[in-house]
Symmetry: C2
Subunit: 66 residues, 2 copies
């Protein structure tokens, strides 16, 4: 299931990698697309949305749209 | 010898770590201080200034003051 999040706090490619690694650590089959300028993170994963939000926030970023 | 560089392109803590790791890989005795808001990188190292500039730029950042 494809889920999109608006994430703030990603400022560079290292941040993009950190978010991707955090998600893949929880679901290593997830397909992730990140657009750094807009902060949009699109995740194809069977994980519940609340888990993905928690994982992204634990990595140090803020999810601003529910 | 203490040398100071003005570095642009560091946007977050990951970038600071990348610059520090790059310098330490070349001189593992270097003492490094980075101020992210100003981009000032202070390095205590016996490496020549030109080598430090090359290392920082190879890590993907730009040294703007000679």
């Amino acid at each position: 299931m494809n889920q999109t999040f608006k994430v703030t706090g990603m400022t560079c490619g290292h941040c993009v990698n950190a978010v991707q690694r955090a998600i893949l650590k929880t679901d290593n089959t997830a397909k992730i697309q990140v657009d750094l300028p807009t902060g949009l993170v699109s995740v194809a994963s069977s994980l519940p949305r609340s888990t993905l939000v928690a994982v992204i926030e634990e990595a140090g970023y803020k999810v601003t749209s529910p």
